[in-house]
């Protein structure tokens, strides 16, 4: 039976809402991912960080969900960062040019350091 194998946990850092994604980013993840983004963006941080460290699988529907988040973030002039992508999904983010619209860091620490130092936003 198809079921969601996705979880999203939200934590708050100064100026950044962090979404820790876990499992499979596909159609079944839609509700949980959008809820997590709404939660992370609630107190209007300058940026939102998507941490993909524990993600095992992203398909084209998952890419569409990330595009949807980017569009929402853009509308509210919020920066989106990403970290923890495997080499394969980093390549996919480059092929789809998602990487042109979100800054990608190797891990959460470097992403947060960069977010703290550059709160400015370019879209």
């Amino acid at each position: 039976m198809p079921a969601s194998h996705f979880e999203a946990a939200v934590s708050r850092q100064p100026g950044t809402g962090v979404i820790g994604l876990k499992g499979e980013v596909d159609a079944f993840a839609e509700e949980a991912l959008n809820a997590a983004y709404a939660d992370a963006a609630r107190d209007n941080p300058a940026s939102v960080l998507l941490d993909f460290r524990e993600v095992e699988y992203i398909n084209s529907t998952g890419i569409a969900l990330v595009v949807g988040l980017l569009a929402q973030a853009r509308a509210s002039r919020r920066q989106v960062l990403a970290c923890g992508l495997s080499d394969h999904y980093l390549e996919i983010f480059q092929i789809t040019r998602l990487s042109d619209f979100m800054t990608i860091y190797p891990d959460e620490a470097s992403a947060l350091a960069a977010a703290g130092s550059s709160p400015a936003l370019e879209t």
Partner: protein, 511 residues
């Protein structure tokens, strides 16, 4: 009289000791009511191994007195002795009935086999410069396979291979009818497509509902080597040349389903040494003990690896028996017809028409790694990935390339589930993996044939972020970027996307 197994009297009679006074029985039981109405006074249960197998029923005594205690003892004693004998008699009767039923079925199968074998050609056509081979083996249940040769003047030969959708005598009768109509039509009409059209129109009003006939009809010009054929839903023939083996496609609806159908014609040229294999479902749909199918890719690879001619038949049968193992009960009729032009240079060379070179031609050293089906349900692409990863383990694909393969397979499977099969769980997605010396091919087939293949917009992230394009639509784009080559084929019912990966690192990465 029969007593229903759920009648409360059954449990009651199993629980009592000795004869029962029926008239004083107070049970809500149809059987008790019937016994009372029939005037039964005493019923003596006959029991064997805890089961009620019968009743000894007695009416009132002729003396009009009640039964005495010694009568009851006598009856009880009698019942204990009679019951085992009655049980044995019942078993014998059941076995006789089963034997009669088996005999009736066997008799019917003999009739079906007789009809079929009487109508199959007794001899092979003798044609200078050509070698014809046939093989026909009915399944125990006798399917509806048939083949036929029609010899025309002027060195033309008609070749028919077909399969009736049912089994046994009904299939044999429809086969006989189809054969006669086709033979008559072939005498009047030259075009194979017109012949099939005519047969379909004549067969349609007479064929039992839900039955149909797949049939391929070819006309060979033995002088030029030109083979013209039309196909009513039958398996596609394989053409083997020195360079490649190709599946030659001509499409059309099976005979007898709908009136007014037309049939495409396909023309191929057989040069010296070239051969064609016609075959029925029985071979490709044979299963081994692991319930895997023999499958088209394996057959195609075997045809490619063999020099052809009638020897091909023995080779294929050997491979089939290796595949199925010794204790194989054949599931369906198997029919194979081979046609080979001899390599002798004295034979008139083939005409000037170019030989068809179809995409996806198998190479001689191709082999099937895996073949499986998935139900069309969202999320099932994960299963496809797992099975594919398992099947290619022996190829030792480098991890980064394996990830690309998995993504391409996932996206192709998702498209098949969602767009091809419209998420209908009854329509499976079929996946075949074929490995050659330097490439791996993954074929994903759905039931989305007969419709134009949509050409989605090239996804553009700027347009998507601006809301000018849907955020979705990345699937095909991802596939194209993951594979080395992409081939798409479609017929009336199926749509296949073939993902090709170069092996041994010969890739031109997009990254």
């Amino acid at each position: 009289m029969e007593i229903a197994p759920n009648d409360p009297i059954v449990a009651y009679l199993l629980g009592v000791d000795g004869p029962v006074d029926i008239q004083s029985l107070d049970l809500d039981s149809p059987a008790a009511k019937a016994l009372k109405a029939a005037g039964v006074r005493l019923a003596v249960p006959l029991r064997s191994q805890g089961e009620l197998i019968g009743l000894l029923n007695l009416g009132p005594r002729l003396s009009e007195q009640d039964y005495l205690p010694e009568d009851l003892r006598l009856l009880d004693n009698l019942a204990a002795r009679v019951a085992p004998a009655v049980r044995v008699a019942q078993l014998v009767r059941e076995q006789q009935a089963e034997a009669q039923e088996r005999e009736r079925i066997d008799q019917e199968l003999r009739v079906a086999r007789l009809i079929q074998q009487t109508l199959l050609p007794k001899t092979l056509p003798q044609l200078p410069g050509w070698e014809v081979g046939t093989y026909y083996r009915p399944a125990r249940a006798v399917g509806g396979d048939f083949y036929d040769f029609i010899e025309f003047p002027d060195s033309y030969l008609g070749i028919v291979v077909g399969d009736v959708s049912d089994k046994g005598v009904p299939a044999a009768l429809v086969m006989a009818t189809t054969r006669s109509i086709l033979r008559a039509a072939a005498q009047r009409l030259d075009s194979p497509g017109e012949v099939l059209q005519h047969v379909n129109d004549l067969l349609h009003p007479d064929i039992p509902p839900n039955m149909f006939v797949t049939c391929l009809y070819a006309v060979l010009d033995t002088t030029s080597g030109r083979l013209l054929f039309a196909n009513a839903g039958h398996n596609l023939p394989y053409l083997r040349t020195a360079e490649a083996v190709t599946e030659v496609r001509a499409t059309g609806m099976p005979l007898g389903l709908m009136p007014g159908m037309t049939y495409d014609e396909q023309r191929i040229e057989l040069g010296p040494g070239d051969s064609v294999l016609f075959h029925s479902d029985g071979l490709v749909e044979a299963h081994n003990r692991q319930r895997e199918m023999f499958g088209f890719p394996k057959l195609m690879a075997l045809v490619g690896a063999h020099p052809g001619g009638a020897g091909l038949i023995d080779h294929l049968l050997g491979e089939l028996s290796r595949f199925t193992g010794p204790a194989y009960e054949q599931e369906d009729d198997i029919t194979l017809v081979t046609l080979q032009r001899s390599g002798d240079a004295s034979v008139t060379p083939a005409g000037a028409a170019p030989r068809p070179q179809l995409a996806g031609a198998a190479k001689d050293d191709m082999r099937v790694l895996a073949e499986f089906e998935l139900a069309s349900a969202p999320g099932n692409e994960r299963r496809a990935i797992e099975s594919v990863a398992e099947a290619v383990r022996e190829l030792h694909i480098e991890p980064a390339r394996l990830e690309r393969l998995k993504t391409a397979v996932a996206e192709a499977t998702m498209n098949a589930i969602e767009h091809g099969n419209k998420n209908r769980p009854d329509l499976p997605v079929r996946i075949q993996l074929i490995a050659g010396r330097d490439e791996l091919s993954v074929r994903v087939t759905d039931h989305g044939g007969g419709q134009p293949i949509p050409q989605p917009d090239v996804p553009d992230i700027e347009s998507k972020l601006a809301g000018e394009q849907t955020p979705r639509g990345w699937g095909l784009f991802l596939i194209k970027n993951m594979v080395d080559d992409l081939r798409v084929t479609s017929d009336e019912t199926h749509h296949t996307i073939e993902l090709v990966f170069k092996l041994e690192g010969a890739s031109d990465d997009a990254s």
